[in-house]
Amino acid sequence: MLISVEGVTKVFGQNTAVDNATFAVERPAMIGIIGRSGAGKSTFLRMMNRLTDATEGRLVFEGRDVLALKGADKRAWQSQCAMIFQQFNLVPRMDVVSNVLHGLLNRRGTLATIFNIWPTDDIHRAIDILDRLGIAEQAPKRAEALSGGQQQRVAIARALMQDPKVILADEPIASLDPMNAQVVMDALRRIHDEDGRTVIANLHTLDTARRYCDRVIGMRGGRIVFDGTPDLLTTAAAREIYGADENFSEAATSTSIETLEPDNAADNAYAARLLTN
Protein backbone atom coordinates (compact mmCIF):
# COMPACT_ATOMS: atom_id res chain seq x y z
CA MET A 1 0.00 0.00 0.00
CA LEU A 2 1.28 3.43 -0.97
CA ILE A 3 -0.63 5.84 1.23
CA SER A 4 -2.93 5.04 4.07
CA VAL A 5 -4.90 7.84 5.67
CA GLU A 6 -6.28 6.82 9.05
CA GLY A 7 -8.68 9.05 10.93
CA VAL A 8 -6.88 12.27 10.10
CA THR A 9 -8.60 15.15 11.86
CA LYS A 10 -7.93 18.85 12.19
CA VAL A 11 -9.70 21.08 14.64
CA PHE A 12 -9.39 24.87 14.48
CA GLY A 13 -10.75 26.16 17.75
CA GLN A 14 -14.40 25.08 17.68
CA ASN A 15 -14.36 24.24 14.01
CA THR A 16 -13.48 20.78 12.78
CA ALA A 17 -11.98 21.48 9.36
CA VAL A 18 -11.16 17.86 8.56
CA ASP A 19 -13.11 15.21 10.36
CA ASN A 20 -11.72 11.70 10.64
CA ALA A 21 -10.61 11.39 7.02
CA THR A 22 -9.82 7.81 6.14
CA PHE A 23 -8.87 6.32 2.79
CA ALA A 24 -6.08 4.41 1.17
CA VAL A 25 -4.18 4.70 -2.08
CA GLU A 26 -2.96 1.34 -3.29
CA ARG A 27 -0.94 2.40 -6.30
CA PRO A 28 0.05 5.66 -8.04
CA ALA A 29 -3.08 7.42 -9.20
CA MET A 30 -4.40 10.81 -10.10
CA ILE A 31 -6.86 11.71 -7.40
CA GLY A 32 -9.17 14.72 -7.37
CA ILE A 33 -10.65 16.10 -4.19
CA ILE A 34 -13.80 18.12 -4.67
CA GLY A 35 -16.15 19.87 -2.34
CA ARG A 36 -17.43 23.31 -1.74
CA SER A 37 -15.52 26.12 -0.16
CA GLY A 38 -14.66 25.38 3.44
CA ALA A 39 -15.07 21.62 3.01
CA GLY A 40 -11.56 21.05 4.30
CA LYS A 41 -9.79 20.24 1.04
CA SER A 42 -6.94 22.66 1.50
CA THR A 43 -6.53 21.80 5.13
CA PHE A 44 -6.19 18.13 4.27
CA LEU A 45 -3.49 18.74 1.66
CA ARG A 46 -1.65 21.11 3.96
CA MET A 47 -1.63 18.50 6.68
CA MET A 48 -0.29 15.97 4.26
CA ASN A 49 2.52 18.32 3.23
CA ARG A 50 3.04 19.14 6.93
CA LEU A 51 2.39 22.82 6.46
CA THR A 52 -0.30 22.43 9.08
CA ASP A 53 -0.08 20.01 11.99
CA ALA A 54 -2.85 17.47 12.25
CA THR A 55 -4.87 17.26 15.43
CA GLU A 56 -5.30 13.52 15.27
CA GLY A 57 -4.83 10.53 13.02
CA ARG A 58 -2.06 8.85 11.07
CA LEU A 59 -0.98 9.16 7.50
CA VAL A 60 1.25 6.26 6.59
CA PHE A 61 3.43 6.56 3.54
CA GLU A 62 5.66 3.61 2.71
CA GLY A 63 5.39 2.40 6.25
CA ARG A 64 6.08 5.68 8.06
CA ASP A 65 3.56 7.92 9.79
CA VAL A 66 4.46 11.21 8.16
CA LEU A 67 2.23 13.21 10.50
CA ALA A 68 4.55 12.37 13.37
CA LEU A 69 7.77 13.54 11.74
CA LYS A 70 9.71 16.41 13.26
CA GLY A 71 12.47 18.80 12.27
CA ALA A 72 14.81 17.53 9.57
CA ASP A 73 12.71 14.40 9.02
CA LYS A 74 9.65 16.51 8.45
CA ARG A 75 11.52 18.66 5.93
CA ALA A 76 12.82 15.54 4.22
CA TRP A 77 9.24 14.35 3.83
CA GLN A 78 8.18 17.72 2.47
CA SER A 79 10.88 17.43 -0.13
CA GLN A 80 9.39 14.12 -1.26
CA CYS A 81 5.87 15.43 -1.28
CA ALA A 82 5.67 18.44 -3.54
CA MET A 83 2.90 20.99 -3.24
CA ILE A 84 1.41 23.27 -5.88
CA PHE A 85 -0.64 26.24 -4.76
CA GLN A 86 -3.52 28.18 -6.21
CA GLN A 87 -1.48 31.39 -6.13
CA PHE A 88 1.71 29.63 -7.34
CA ASN A 89 3.68 30.82 -4.28
CA LEU A 90 6.82 31.50 -6.25
CA VAL A 91 9.45 34.09 -5.39
CA PRO A 92 8.40 36.73 -7.91
CA ARG A 93 11.61 38.75 -7.90
CA MET A 94 13.84 35.79 -8.71
CA ASP A 95 14.32 34.25 -12.09
CA VAL A 96 12.42 31.20 -13.22
CA VAL A 97 15.33 28.77 -12.98
CA SER A 98 16.15 29.85 -9.45
CA ASN A 99 12.55 29.28 -8.54
CA VAL A 100 12.67 25.80 -9.98
CA LEU A 101 15.93 25.10 -8.18
CA HIS A 102 14.23 25.89 -4.91
CA GLY A 103 12.75 22.42 -5.25
CA LEU A 104 16.18 21.14 -4.22
CA LEU A 105 16.64 23.32 -1.16
CA ASN A 106 16.26 20.39 1.16
CA ARG A 107 18.81 18.25 -0.67
CA ARG A 108 21.63 20.76 -1.03
CA GLY A 109 23.78 22.38 1.65
CA THR A 110 22.38 25.46 3.33
CA LEU A 111 25.51 27.55 2.85
CA ALA A 112 25.79 26.95 -0.89
CA THR A 113 22.10 27.55 -1.51
CA ILE A 114 22.14 30.74 0.53
CA PHE A 115 24.58 32.17 -1.96
CA ASN A 116 22.46 30.81 -4.77
CA ILE A 117 25.22 28.45 -5.87
CA TRP A 118 23.98 25.29 -7.57
CA PRO A 119 25.70 22.42 -9.36
CA THR A 120 25.57 22.80 -13.13
CA ASP A 121 23.74 19.48 -13.40
CA ASP A 122 20.94 20.79 -11.27
CA ILE A 123 20.58 23.85 -13.44
CA HIS A 124 20.50 21.72 -16.56
CA ARG A 125 17.89 19.49 -15.07
CA ALA A 126 15.80 22.52 -14.12
CA ILE A 127 15.89 23.77 -17.68
CA ASP A 128 15.03 20.30 -18.97
CA ILE A 129 11.99 20.23 -16.74
CA LEU A 130 10.97 23.69 -17.91
CA ASP A 131 11.43 22.48 -21.45
CA ARG A 132 9.18 19.53 -20.76
CA LEU A 133 6.52 21.97 -19.58
CA GLY A 134 7.09 24.14 -22.65
CA ILE A 135 8.43 27.21 -20.88
CA ALA A 136 12.21 26.77 -21.23
CA GLU A 137 12.40 30.09 -23.03
CA GLN A 138 11.22 31.89 -19.94
CA ALA A 139 14.16 30.52 -17.93
CA PRO A 140 16.07 33.77 -17.38
CA LYS A 141 13.02 35.95 -16.76
CA ARG A 142 11.77 36.99 -13.39
CA ALA A 143 8.85 34.87 -12.24
CA GLU A 144 6.67 37.97 -11.80
CA ALA A 145 7.05 38.76 -15.50
CA LEU A 146 5.20 35.58 -16.49
CA SER A 147 1.51 35.04 -17.09
CA GLY A 148 -0.50 33.11 -14.52
CA GLY A 149 -0.47 29.89 -16.49
CA GLN A 150 3.26 30.11 -17.01
CA GLN A 151 3.82 30.82 -13.35
CA GLN A 152 1.81 27.78 -12.41
CA ARG A 153 3.92 25.71 -14.75
CA VAL A 154 7.01 27.08 -13.05
CA ALA A 155 5.47 25.93 -9.77
CA ILE A 156 4.94 22.49 -11.28
CA ALA A 157 8.52 22.52 -12.48
CA ARG A 158 9.64 23.30 -8.96
CA ALA A 159 7.55 20.38 -7.76
CA LEU A 160 9.09 18.09 -10.38
CA MET A 161 12.54 19.30 -9.40
CA GLN A 162 11.84 17.80 -6.00
CA ASP A 163 11.51 14.46 -7.79
CA PRO A 164 8.65 13.78 -5.43
CA LYS A 165 6.76 10.58 -4.82
CA VAL A 166 3.55 12.51 -4.36
CA ILE A 167 2.44 15.80 -5.85
CA LEU A 168 -0.24 17.72 -4.04
CA ALA A 169 -2.02 20.49 -5.88
CA ASP A 170 -4.36 22.88 -4.08
CA GLU A 171 -6.75 24.28 -6.66
CA PRO A 172 -3.97 24.64 -9.20
CA ILE A 173 -6.21 26.17 -11.84
CA ALA A 174 -8.53 28.35 -9.80
CA SER A 175 -6.56 31.50 -10.63
CA LEU A 176 -6.18 30.71 -14.28
CA ASP A 177 -8.25 31.41 -17.35
CA PRO A 178 -9.74 28.39 -19.12
CA MET A 179 -6.99 28.22 -21.70
CA ASN A 180 -4.20 28.15 -19.15
CA ALA A 181 -6.21 25.91 -16.88
CA GLN A 182 -6.25 23.25 -19.56
CA VAL A 183 -2.52 23.54 -20.16
CA VAL A 184 -1.79 23.14 -16.47
CA MET A 185 -4.14 20.21 -15.95
CA ASP A 186 -2.72 18.50 -19.03
CA ALA A 187 0.74 18.93 -17.58
CA LEU A 188 -0.26 17.39 -14.27
CA ARG A 189 -1.93 14.49 -15.98
CA ARG A 190 1.09 13.92 -18.18
CA ILE A 191 3.33 13.83 -15.12
CA HIS A 192 1.17 11.19 -13.64
CA ASP A 193 1.01 9.18 -16.84
CA GLU A 194 4.65 9.41 -17.79
CA ASP A 195 6.41 9.37 -14.41
CA GLY A 196 3.90 7.36 -12.51
CA ARG A 197 3.78 9.81 -9.65
CA THR A 198 0.76 10.05 -7.43
CA VAL A 199 -1.04 13.35 -7.92
CA ILE A 200 -3.64 14.57 -5.48
CA ALA A 201 -5.41 17.73 -6.64
CA ASN A 202 -8.08 19.83 -5.00
CA LEU A 203 -10.39 20.94 -7.73
CA HIS A 204 -13.29 23.28 -7.58
CA THR A 205 -15.01 22.15 -10.74
CA LEU A 206 -16.64 18.83 -11.32
CA ASP A 207 -15.90 18.51 -14.98
CA THR A 208 -12.17 18.93 -14.48
CA ALA A 209 -12.22 16.21 -11.87
CA ARG A 210 -14.22 13.95 -14.16
CA ARG A 211 -11.98 14.58 -17.08
CA TYR A 212 -8.56 14.25 -15.51
CA CYS A 213 -8.82 12.03 -12.46
CA ASP A 214 -8.78 8.28 -11.94
CA ARG A 215 -10.47 8.64 -8.64
CA VAL A 216 -12.52 11.40 -7.04
CA ILE A 217 -12.89 12.05 -3.35
CA GLY A 218 -15.74 14.30 -2.30
CA MET A 219 -15.60 16.23 0.95
CA ARG A 220 -18.32 18.07 2.78
CA GLY A 221 -17.99 19.76 6.14
CA GLY A 222 -14.62 18.11 6.71
CA ARG A 223 -15.88 14.57 6.09
CA ILE A 224 -15.25 12.36 3.12
CA VAL A 225 -18.68 11.81 1.63
CA PHE A 226 -17.71 10.36 -1.72
CA ASP A 227 -14.86 8.18 -2.90
CA GLY A 228 -14.94 6.48 -6.27
CA THR A 229 -14.21 6.60 -9.95
CA PRO A 230 -15.42 9.59 -11.97
CA ASP A 231 -18.22 7.66 -13.59
CA LEU A 232 -19.80 7.08 -10.20
CA LEU A 233 -20.00 10.86 -9.82
CA THR A 234 -23.60 11.36 -10.93
CA THR A 235 -25.39 14.65 -10.68
CA ALA A 236 -27.12 13.30 -7.61
CA ALA A 237 -23.77 12.46 -6.04
CA ALA A 238 -22.51 15.91 -6.90
CA ARG A 239 -25.57 17.47 -5.26
CA GLU A 240 -24.80 15.45 -2.19
CA ILE A 241 -21.20 16.65 -2.12
CA TYR A 242 -22.03 20.26 -2.77
CA GLY A 243 -25.07 20.18 -0.54
CA ALA A 244 -26.92 21.94 -3.33
CA ASP A 245 -30.60 21.98 -4.07
CA GLU A 246 -32.48 21.36 -7.28
CA ASN A 247 -31.21 24.52 -8.91
CA PHE A 248 -27.68 23.21 -8.86
CA SER A 249 -26.25 23.34 -12.30
CA GLU A 250 -22.92 21.93 -13.15
CA ALA A 251 -22.28 24.75 -15.51
CA ALA A 252 -21.71 27.04 -12.56
CA THR A 253 -18.63 25.09 -11.61
CA SER A 254 -17.35 24.56 -15.08
CA THR A 255 -14.13 25.96 -16.45
CA SER A 256 -13.47 23.69 -19.35
CA ILE A 257 -12.69 25.49 -22.53
CA GLU A 258 -15.19 23.65 -24.66
CA THR A 259 -18.28 24.69 -22.81
CA LEU A 260 -17.20 28.29 -22.68
CA GLU A 261 -15.69 28.62 -26.11
CA PRO A 262 -18.75 30.00 -27.90
CA ASP A 263 -19.24 32.83 -25.44
CA ASN A 264 -15.62 33.69 -25.16
CA ALA A 265 -15.57 36.77 -27.34
CA ALA A 266 -18.48 38.43 -25.66
CA ASP A 267 -17.15 37.35 -22.29
CA ASN A 268 -13.80 38.83 -22.89
CA ALA A 269 -15.23 42.04 -24.17
CA TYR A 270 -17.52 42.38 -21.20
CA ALA A 271 -14.84 41.45 -18.74
CA ALA A 272 -12.41 43.85 -20.31
CA ARG A 273 -14.94 46.60 -19.95
CA LEU A 274 -15.50 45.73 -16.33
CA LEU A 275 -11.82 45.51 -15.67
CA THR A 276 -11.15 48.99 -16.99
CA ASN A 277 -13.26 50.34 -14.15
Binding site: I117, I123, D131, A139, P140
Partner: protein
Protein backbone atom coordinates in the same frame (compact mmCIF):
# COMPACT_ATOMS: atom_id res chain seq x y z
CA UNK B 1 10.54 21.48 -28.34
CA UNK B 2 13.77 20.00 -29.62
CA UNK B 3 16.77 19.33 -27.43
CA UNK B 4 18.97 21.72 -29.35
CA UNK B 5 16.97 24.77 -28.33
CA UNK B 6 16.95 23.58 -24.74
CA UNK B 7 20.72 23.19 -24.91
CA UNK B 8 21.00 26.68 -26.27
CA UNK B 9 18.89 28.01 -23.45
CA UNK B 10 21.06 26.15 -20.97
CA UNK B 11 24.22 27.64 -22.35
CA UNK B 12 22.74 31.13 -22.44
CA UNK B 13 21.38 30.81 -18.97
CA UNK B 14 24.62 29.50 -17.54
CA UNK B 15 26.52 32.35 -19.16
CA UNK B 16 24.06 34.88 -17.83
CA UNK B 17 24.19 33.32 -14.39
CA UNK B 18 27.95 33.33 -14.33
CA UNK B 19 28.02 36.95 -15.34
CA UNK B 20 25.48 37.88 -12.71
CA UNK B 21 27.39 36.00 -10.06
CA UNK B 22 30.57 37.71 -11.06
CA UNK B 23 28.93 41.09 -10.81
CA UNK B 24 27.39 40.36 -7.44
CA UNK B 25 30.69 38.93 -6.22
CA UNK B 26 32.51 41.99 -7.38
CA UNK B 27 29.92 44.24 -5.81
CA UNK B 28 30.17 42.32 -2.56
CA UNK B 29 33.95 42.56 -2.53
CA UNK B 30 33.84 46.28 -3.20
CA UNK B 31 31.23 46.75 -0.54
CA UNK B 32 33.14 44.79 2.08
CA UNK B 33 36.40 46.49 1.17
CA UNK B 34 34.75 49.87 1.45
CA UNK B 35 33.26 49.01 4.80
CA UNK B 36 36.44 47.56 6.23
CA UNK B 37 38.63 50.36 5.00
CA UNK B 38 36.28 53.02 6.27
CA UNK B 39 36.19 51.33 9.65
CA UNK B 40 39.97 51.26 9.75
CA UNK B 41 40.22 54.84 8.65
CA UNK B 42 37.72 56.00 11.26
CA UNK B 43 39.46 53.91 13.87
CA UNK B 44 42.81 55.43 12.98
CA UNK B 45 41.55 58.97 13.10
CA UNK B 46 39.84 58.45 16.43
CA UNK B 47 41.53 59.37 19.70
CA UNK B 48 40.89 55.92 21.14
CA UNK B 49 40.67 52.68 19.21
CA UNK B 50 37.50 50.60 19.04
CA UNK B 51 38.89 47.51 20.70
CA UNK B 52 40.82 49.43 23.35
CA UNK B 53 37.75 51.35 24.35
CA UNK B 54 35.20 48.58 24.33
CA UNK B 55 35.69 47.67 27.97
CA UNK B 56 35.09 51.26 29.01
CA UNK B 57 31.76 51.62 27.27
CA UNK B 58 29.86 51.23 30.49
CA UNK B 59 32.03 53.60 32.56
CA UNK B 60 30.00 56.69 31.88
CA UNK B 61 26.54 55.16 32.26
CA UNK B 62 27.70 53.51 35.48
CA UNK B 63 28.96 56.80 36.83
CA UNK B 64 25.73 58.50 35.91
CA UNK B 65 23.45 55.79 37.21
CA UNK B 66 25.35 55.37 40.46
CA UNK B 67 24.80 58.98 41.35
CA UNK B 68 21.25 59.00 40.05
CA UNK B 69 20.43 55.98 42.20
CA UNK B 70 22.02 57.54 45.24
CA UNK B 71 19.77 60.53 44.83
CA UNK B 72 16.76 58.58 43.67
CA UNK B 73 14.56 60.45 46.14
CA UNK B 74 15.12 63.63 44.17
CA UNK B 75 13.78 62.05 41.00
CA UNK B 76 10.16 63.25 41.24
CA UNK B 77 11.28 66.78 42.01
CA UNK B 78 13.71 66.69 39.13
CA UNK B 79 11.09 65.35 36.77
CA UNK B 80 8.76 68.15 37.73
CA UNK B 81 11.55 70.69 37.37
CA UNK B 82 12.32 69.77 33.80
CA UNK B 83 8.76 69.22 32.64
CA UNK B 84 8.38 72.78 31.30
CA UNK B 85 11.52 72.37 29.22
CA UNK B 86 10.13 69.12 27.86
CA UNK B 87 6.88 70.82 26.95
CA UNK B 88 8.85 73.51 25.20
CA UNK B 89 10.69 70.87 23.19
CA UNK B 90 7.45 69.16 22.24
CA UNK B 91 5.93 72.49 21.32
CA UNK B 92 8.87 73.30 19.08
CA UNK B 93 8.47 69.96 17.36
CA UNK B 94 4.70 70.28 17.03
CA UNK B 95 4.66 73.81 15.67
CA UNK B 96 7.46 73.19 13.26
CA UNK B 97 5.81 70.02 12.02
CA UNK B 98 2.55 71.87 11.58
CA UNK B 99 4.01 74.83 9.75
CA UNK B 100 6.41 72.66 7.80
CA UNK B 101 3.62 70.34 6.73
CA UNK B 102 1.43 73.21 5.55
CA UNK B 103 4.30 74.62 3.55
CA UNK B 104 5.15 71.19 2.24
CA UNK B 105 1.57 70.72 1.11
CA UNK B 106 1.63 73.87 -0.96
CA UNK B 107 5.11 73.21 -2.29
CA UNK B 108 4.30 69.65 -3.22
CA UNK B 109 1.13 70.61 -5.05
CA UNK B 110 3.05 73.26 -6.90
CA UNK B 111 5.70 70.78 -7.92
CA UNK B 112 3.61 67.82 -9.05
CA UNK B 113 3.10 67.29 -12.72
CA UNK B 114 -0.56 67.53 -13.61
CA UNK B 115 -1.47 69.53 -10.53
CA UNK B 116 0.93 72.44 -10.59
CA UNK B 117 -0.52 75.91 -10.85
CA UNK B 118 2.46 77.03 -12.93
CA UNK B 119 3.76 73.92 -14.68
CA UNK B 120 6.82 75.78 -15.86
CA UNK B 121 7.87 76.51 -12.29
CA UNK B 122 7.89 72.86 -11.24
CA UNK B 123 11.69 72.45 -11.44
CA UNK B 124 12.06 75.64 -9.44
CA UNK B 125 9.91 74.37 -6.58
CA UNK B 126 11.62 71.01 -6.70
CA UNK B 127 15.08 72.54 -6.41
CA UNK B 128 13.76 74.69 -3.63
CA UNK B 129 12.67 71.65 -1.68
CA UNK B 130 16.00 69.93 -2.35
CA UNK B 131 17.88 72.84 -0.88
CA UNK B 132 15.52 73.09 2.07
CA UNK B 133 16.13 69.46 2.75
CA UNK B 134 19.85 69.64 2.36
CA UNK B 135 20.59 72.49 4.75
CA UNK B 136 21.15 70.99 8.20
CA UNK B 137 18.83 72.36 10.86
CA UNK B 138 21.72 73.28 13.06
CA UNK B 139 23.02 75.72 10.48
CA UNK B 140 19.77 77.63 10.26
CA UNK B 141 19.31 77.49 14.01
CA UNK B 142 22.75 78.93 14.70
CA UNK B 143 22.32 81.71 12.17
CA UNK B 144 18.95 82.59 13.64
CA UNK B 145 20.29 82.46 17.16
CA UNK B 146 22.78 85.04 16.07
CA UNK B 147 20.04 87.26 14.74
CA UNK B 148 17.11 86.54 17.03
CA UNK B 149 18.91 85.50 20.17
CA UNK B 150 18.51 82.15 21.93
CA UNK B 151 15.23 80.45 22.65
CA UNK B 152 12.75 78.21 20.94
CA UNK B 153 11.97 80.31 17.87
CA UNK B 154 15.21 79.76 15.94
CA UNK B 155 14.86 76.02 16.48
CA UNK B 156 11.26 76.16 15.42
CA UNK B 157 12.02 78.01 12.21
CA UNK B 158 15.00 75.81 11.44
CA UNK B 159 13.06 72.61 11.88
CA UNK B 160 10.02 73.91 10.04
CA UNK B 161 12.22 74.89 7.13
CA UNK B 162 13.77 71.48 6.92
CA UNK B 163 10.43 69.76 7.46
CA UNK B 164 8.91 71.66 4.58
CA UNK B 165 11.58 70.32 2.26
CA UNK B 166 11.54 66.78 3.55
CA UNK B 167 7.77 66.41 3.72
CA UNK B 168 7.41 68.27 0.43
CA UNK B 169 9.27 65.52 -1.32
CA UNK B 170 7.28 62.76 0.33
CA UNK B 171 4.01 64.58 -0.29
CA UNK B 172 4.75 65.07 -3.95
CA UNK B 173 5.39 61.36 -4.28
CA UNK B 174 1.94 60.82 -2.82
CA UNK B 175 0.49 63.42 -5.16
CA UNK B 176 1.99 61.72 -8.13
CA UNK B 177 -0.03 58.62 -7.29
CA UNK B 178 -3.22 60.59 -6.80
CA UNK B 179 -6.03 59.97 -9.22
CA UNK B 180 -6.40 62.91 -11.58
CA UNK B 181 -9.94 62.09 -12.63
CA UNK B 182 -11.64 63.96 -9.78
CA UNK B 183 -9.41 66.94 -10.48
CA UNK B 184 -10.46 66.94 -14.08
CA UNK B 185 -14.06 66.60 -13.00
CA UNK B 186 -13.70 69.72 -10.88
CA UNK B 187 -11.91 71.54 -13.67
CA UNK B 188 -14.84 70.78 -15.98
CA UNK B 189 -17.27 72.67 -13.72
CA UNK B 190 -14.98 75.69 -13.68
CA UNK B 191 -13.42 75.20 -10.25
CA UNK B 192 -10.39 77.34 -9.42
CA UNK B 193 -6.96 75.82 -8.77
CA UNK B 194 -7.44 76.10 -5.05
CA UNK B 195 -10.82 74.36 -5.22
CA UNK B 196 -9.44 71.62 -7.43
CA UNK B 197 -6.63 70.95 -5.00
CA UNK B 198 -8.63 71.21 -1.84
CA UNK B 199 -11.64 69.22 -2.98
CA UNK B 200 -10.09 66.95 -5.57
CA UNK B 201 -6.61 66.12 -4.31
CA UNK B 202 -6.49 66.68 -0.58
CA UNK B 203 -9.22 64.18 0.33
CA UNK B 204 -7.34 61.51 -1.61
CA UNK B 205 -3.95 62.15 -0.14
CA UNK B 206 -4.87 63.23 3.39
CA UNK B 207 -4.29 59.86 5.08
CA UNK B 208 -0.87 59.51 3.55
CA UNK B 209 -0.03 63.12 4.35
CA UNK B 210 -1.02 62.58 7.93
CA UNK B 211 0.96 59.43 8.19
CA UNK B 212 4.09 61.10 6.91
CA UNK B 213 3.54 64.14 9.09
CA UNK B 214 3.25 61.99 12.19
CA UNK B 215 6.49 60.26 11.34
CA UNK B 216 8.09 63.68 10.89
CA UNK B 217 6.78 64.82 14.24
CA UNK B 218 8.61 61.96 15.83
CA UNK B 219 11.82 62.92 14.05
CA UNK B 220 11.33 66.56 14.93
CA UNK B 221 11.09 65.86 18.63
CA UNK B 222 14.58 64.45 18.41
CA UNK B 223 15.75 67.30 16.25
CA UNK B 224 14.47 69.91 18.66
CA UNK B 225 16.23 68.12 21.50
CA UNK B 226 19.45 68.19 19.50
CA UNK B 227 19.08 71.87 18.72
CA UNK B 228 18.68 72.50 22.41
CA UNK B 229 22.24 71.32 22.61
CA UNK B 230 23.44 74.26 20.57
CA UNK B 231 21.46 76.75 22.59
CA UNK B 232 17.99 76.66 21.13
CA UNK B 233 16.17 76.05 24.37
CA UNK B 234 14.07 73.13 25.47
CA UNK B 235 15.10 69.94 27.14
CA UNK B 236 18.26 69.51 25.09
CA UNK B 237 19.70 72.64 26.65
CA UNK B 238 18.99 71.42 30.15
CA UNK B 239 20.49 68.05 29.33
CA UNK B 240 23.63 69.56 27.96
CA UNK B 241 24.17 71.63 31.07
CA UNK B 242 23.48 68.78 33.44
CA UNK B 243 25.62 66.30 31.56
CA UNK B 244 28.31 68.84 30.81
CA UNK B 245 28.72 69.70 34.46
CA UNK B 246 29.11 66.08 35.38
CA UNK B 247 29.23 64.70 38.89
CA UNK B 248 26.85 66.39 41.21
CA UNK B 249 24.21 66.92 38.57
CA UNK B 250 23.91 63.43 37.22
CA UNK B 251 20.64 63.05 39.05
CA UNK B 252 19.24 65.89 36.99
CA UNK B 253 20.78 64.43 33.86
CA UNK B 254 19.18 61.09 34.58
CA UNK B 255 15.80 62.71 35.14
CA UNK B 256 16.00 64.68 31.89
CA UNK B 257 17.20 61.67 30.10
CA UNK B 258 14.30 59.65 31.43
CA UNK B 259 11.82 62.32 30.37
CA UNK B 260 13.28 62.54 26.91
CA UNK B 261 13.40 58.80 26.49
CA UNK B 262 9.85 58.27 27.65
CA UNK B 263 8.60 61.05 25.41
CA UNK B 264 10.32 59.72 22.36
CA UNK B 265 9.08 56.21 22.99
CA UNK B 266 5.57 57.43 23.71
CA UNK B 267 5.38 59.57 20.58
CA UNK B 268 6.88 56.77 18.59
CA UNK B 269 4.25 54.34 19.79
CA UNK B 270 1.29 56.68 19.46
CA UNK B 271 2.23 57.87 16.02
CA UNK B 272 2.97 54.42 14.68
CA UNK B 273 -0.39 53.29 16.05
CA UNK B 274 -2.23 56.06 14.24
CA UNK B 275 -0.14 55.67 11.15
CA UNK B 276 -1.02 52.01 10.90
CA UNK B 277 -4.64 52.89 11.39
CA UNK B 278 -4.61 55.61 8.77
CA UNK B 279 -2.84 53.70 6.09
CA UNK B 280 -4.45 50.33 6.57
CA UNK B 281 -8.08 51.29 7.17
CA UNK B 282 -9.42 54.51 5.66
Amino acid sequence: MTMTTADGIKADYMAQRRQKQMYSGLLLIIFVALLVSSFRLANDRNAGGFFDGLHRVLDFPTELLTEALQKITLLPANLARFLPALIETINIAAVSTLIGALLAMVLSLLSTRGLALWPRAIPLFRRMMDVMRAVPEVVIALVLIFILGGGPVPAMIAIAFHTAGALGKQFSEVNENADLKPVEGLASVGGSWFQRMWLGVVPQVAPNYLSYALMRFEINVRASAILGFVGAGGIGYELKIAIGWGQGRYDAAAAIFLLLFLTIVAIDQISSHYRNKLVKGH
